[in-house]
């Protein structure tokens, strides 16, 4: 499926749901509102007008449809003015040509054919179709016209006689008939060489062996531009957009249920009052197309001629769509004749409604782009639009979509990546929370133990301090007083009559320093010895004992006695003696305990 096909299916690009299909021929204008019903079409309204002024006829049918409640804006027209033909072009179905270039190629091929087509729209044949003249009368008028104009050409005053004037002169038609006929003819024949084309590629149809010389079959149609604008104006006046103009014969094929089986051959014979068409369908494409001018009496011979043209082809199915004004008996007779001619059953396509031909439904299918549309070609009223993919707006939209899609993919990538990271983060956080909880529990236990230990330590320190204070108050202080008293008492007992105490000084570290005087050396030594023994229970030791001669009181010669009574042990004593003024650790400053 091509991108264009996809774009065509987009909801906003869908065609109208109903369309006004008009069919104009020499007898009048028939119109029907065809609505889309899923993949099919259905006629909802129909009417006709035989007003010779087709502009007024259009107004009448549109007024009727509006009155019936139709509110559509789109219209198409089938008219014998549109020529239909198969042409071969060296342009493949998939090409990059701009629509204008393709139109030029189709125009080039159709112009000669269109000139030939104009001959079927002559005034004589037109009058025959209107029933004003017989074919013989037309031949008579034409011969008279040729004779009169050629003889007049030799006279001095040349007056060109036209077909109508001669027909009146010959009393074949009245002035009123001529006027009415010309008025109708003005909607089917116009001056000017400009034509406008439409086409539909028949993709698989390739003619030619080599790729360079390959020719591709295109179903093409054309119409005089002046007539096209005339019809467009008629519809525009009724606030309708005339979308396409279709040939009278050649559109019914869109209604067929064509099997897409390759090689299957089918024939559609389509009959109108003024034209007859034979369409050979090979597989799902049109292979050959034959369009002939027709008159009702010549219908069967014309059909026979078309069939014999394709006599070599063995058809699987032959379809017969008769949209002429003939009655059912005539149509049935023609059907039977065709079955006898072809020796096979003919599938008849009846008229969908009184004023609706199979071709009108085919045109509706084409404009609604339904199934069968590729087998129909119409002349577009508007200038051909490039394919959707070549339109700037569509390209901008596609570019925007591509850009948004790219950004969307990039954003999606970002979101996916972020989602993965967040998922990983969540997972890791969960694990981490478990670990942190365990650590917190353990830490709380550690903290509690530490706090308890600190509290114990603090209390123990407090207890130590309190113990120390208790010891100080309850033991050390009372003992101190006792020590002092005992020390002095022992000193008093140790002193003999030959010894006098001069001075007792106490140092809080060293202890007591005693200075005394003795009358003789023996008494001095006895004093020292006695005192030493006396203070031993008090944990005092005598240190630095010196006894030397010294003049005492009253000028008597005697001996000085000096010593220290200390509670320090030898090591501590030596330490404080070597470093006078040094702080003695509390552990070595022991209070004497002997004073009991």
């Amino acid at each position: 499926m091509q991108l264009n096909d996809l774009l065509e299916k987009l909801p906003f690009n869908q065609r109208a749901s109903s369309v006004l299909v008009c069919e104009a021929d020499y007898t009048g204008l028939r119109a029907a509102v065809v609505a889309r019903n899923s993949d099919n079409v259905a006629v909802t309204l129909e009417t006709s007008s035989d007003n010779p002024d087709y502009k007024l006829a259009v107004a009448e049918v549109v007024a009727y449809m509006r009155k019936q409640g139709w509110t559509g804006k789109l219209a198409v027209l089938l008219t014998p003015s549109v020529m239909l033909a198969m042409i071969d072009l060296p342009i493949p179905p998939k090409n990059k040509l701009a629509p204008t270039q393709l139109a030029e190629s189709v125009n080039w091929e159709l112009e000669p054919l269109f000139a030939q087509h104009l001959s079927t729209l002559s005034i004589g044949r037109f009058f025959v179709l209107l029933g004003y003249l017989t074919p013989e009368q037309v031949e008579d008028v034409v011969s008279q016209q040729a004779y009169i104009n050629s003889s007049a050409n030799q006279s001095e005053t040349f007056v060109y006689k036209r077909f109508g004037e001669i027909a009146i002169d010959l009393r074949y038609v009245t002035q009123a008939q001529l006027q009415r006929g010309l008025e109708r003819l003005a909607w089917f024949q116009a001056l000017g060489d400009e034509i406008k084309c439409g086409w539909a590629v028949q993709a698989a149809s390739v003619v030619g062996d080599k790729a360079d010389n390959a020719q591709y079959q295109w179903l093409a149609c054309a119409m005089n531009q002046t007539l096209l604008r005339q019809w467009q104006a008629a519809f525009t006046a009724q606030a309708l957009k005339l979308e396409n103009l279709y040939p009278l014969a050649g559109c019914a094929i869109a209604n067929l249920d064509i099997a897409h089986k390759a090689g299957k051959q089918q024939l559609l014979l389509e009959v109108y009052d003024s034209v007859i068409a034979g369409v050979q369908i090979s597989g799902s494409h049109i292979k050959n197309l034959y369009v002939h001018a027709n008159t009702l009496p010549d219908t069967l011979p014309n059909l026979t001629e078309i069939y014999h043209t394709l006599e070599d082809v063995e058809f699987d199915t032959i379809w017969y769509a008769d949209s002429s004004a003939r009655n059912d008996i005539d149509i049935s007779y023609t059907n039977t004749s065709l079955e006898q001619l072809t020796q096979q059953a003919i599938k008849t396509i009846s008229r969908p409604a009184q004023f609706v031909s199979a071709g009108m439904l085919g045109a509706a299918r084409h404009v609604m782009k339904l199934k069968g549309a590729p087998l129909v070609a119409g002349v577009p009223v508007s200038n051909p639009q490039p394919s959707l993919t070549q339109r700037l707006g569509v390209r901008a939209m596609l570019g925007g979509i591509a850009l948004l899609a790219t950004l969307g993919f990039a954003e999606l990538g970002l979101q996916v990546r972020q989602g993965m990271i967040e998922s990983e983060n969540e997972k890791v956080n969960k694990e981490l929370k478990t670990i942190n909880d365990a650590i917190a529990r353990l830490q709380a236990k550690v903290d509690e133990v530490k706090k308890t230990k600190d509290a114990i330590k603090g209390l123990q320190e407090d207890k130590l301090e309190a113990d120390s204070a208790v010891s100080l108050l309850s033991v050390d202080l009372p003992k101190r007083n006792q020590t002092v008293i005992s020390f002095l008492s022992e000193l008093a007992r140790s002193v003999s009559e030959d010894v006098v105490i001069d001075r007792i000084a106490e140092d809080s570290i060293y202890g007591f320093t005693v200075n005394a005087w003795s009358l003789n050396e023996k008494s001095a030594q006895e004093f020292i010895k006695t005192f030493q023994v006396a203070v031993q229970p008090l944990d005092f030791k005598l240190k630095d004992i010196t006894v030397g001669t010294q003049t005492g009181r009253l000028g008597l010669l005697g001996y000085s006695i000096n010593f220290s009574a200390t509670a320090l042990d030898d090591a501590a004593w030596n330490a404080v003696k070597q470093l006078p003024g040094a702080t003695v650790p509390a552990s070595v400053v022991t209070q004497p305990t002997g004073a009991k």
Partner: protein, 249 residues
């Protein structure tokens, strides 16, 4: 319209320019900040993964918390008991800044037959430099304070001593290990000290020292110096000695 005639090349160029602007803006204002944010998040994830792989658990204590609590309760009880003992002992101490204790000492001296030469507060500094034995702010007015001092001197004279009112002797910072040091630093309420000089014979001095032990509050001689008077006494008269002592009250 002219816009419909834009060639394919120009359309592609316009698309590239628009795409560049849109893509650039998207990248600049969306992708880069988002990538930065994701980078930070990823870094956090990596750090957390490292923490998960190598968790740092605190060392589990060997001690049993219940045992510690039991020990704490026991220590608490023991400390409280000790503090109760301490409080009980502190009741034997004289109220700080109490002149009553000084008076009791003077009375003891008089009773023992020694003469108080000097009785002054002895200021000792704690190890942190704070002074102890500060003169009490008794809450008395100046007049009341003078009257109280006068009464104290009168009583001291009656007891045969001399009180030097208002004089304070600074003893400096005691050495660690000294008894004074402990009295100042080991007790919550440092004890006040009084330097007392007395004169009398040795026997009376001993009596005085003995009488200190029978005071209503605890008084401790923390330092003692004894000097014998230079002049010899007349025959039959005991030798006078001068004793300087520092008493912790």
């Amino acid at each position: 319209m002219a816009i419909e005639k834009i060639s394919n090349r120009e359309q592609i160029l316009i698309f590239i320019v628009v795409a560049t602007f849109v893509g650039g803006s998207y990248g600049l204002f969306r992708v880069i900040p988002k990538l930065k944010e994701m980078g930070v998040l990823q870094e956090t994830v990596a750090k957390n993964q490292e923490k998960v792989k190598n968790p740092v658990f605190p060392e589990e204590p060997n001690e049993d918390i219940d045992e510690l609590k039991d020990k704490l309760a026991a220590v608490t009880e023991a400390t409280e008991n000790t503090l109760l003992d301490l409080a009980s002992l502190e009741k034997n101490l004289a109220p700080t800044n109490s002149q009553e204790m000084v008076l009791k000492i003077s009375e003891a001296a008089r009773a023992a037959g020694v003469r108080v030469i000097e009785s002054v507060p002895y200021l000792v500094q704690k190890k942190d430099g704070a002074a102890t034995n500060q003169p009490a702010k008794s809450g008395l007015t100046k007049r009341q304070q003078r009257r109280a001092d006068r009464e104290a001197r009168k009583k001291a004279r009656k007891s045969g001593g001399t009180v030097v009112a208002g004089k304070i002797i600074s003893g400096g910072i005691p050495k660690e290990g000294e008894l004074i040091y402990r009295l100042v630093n080991d007790l919550e309420n440092p004890r006040p000290f009084q330097r007392i000089s007395v004169e009398g014979n040795f026997t009376d001095l001993q009596k005085f020292l003995q009488s200190l032990r029978s005071l209503p509050w605890q008084a401790t001689i923390v330092k003692l110096d004894i000097d014998v008077a230079i002049q010899s006494p007349p025959p039959g008269i005991p030798q006078l000695i001068t004793t300087k002592m520092i008493v912790a009250m």
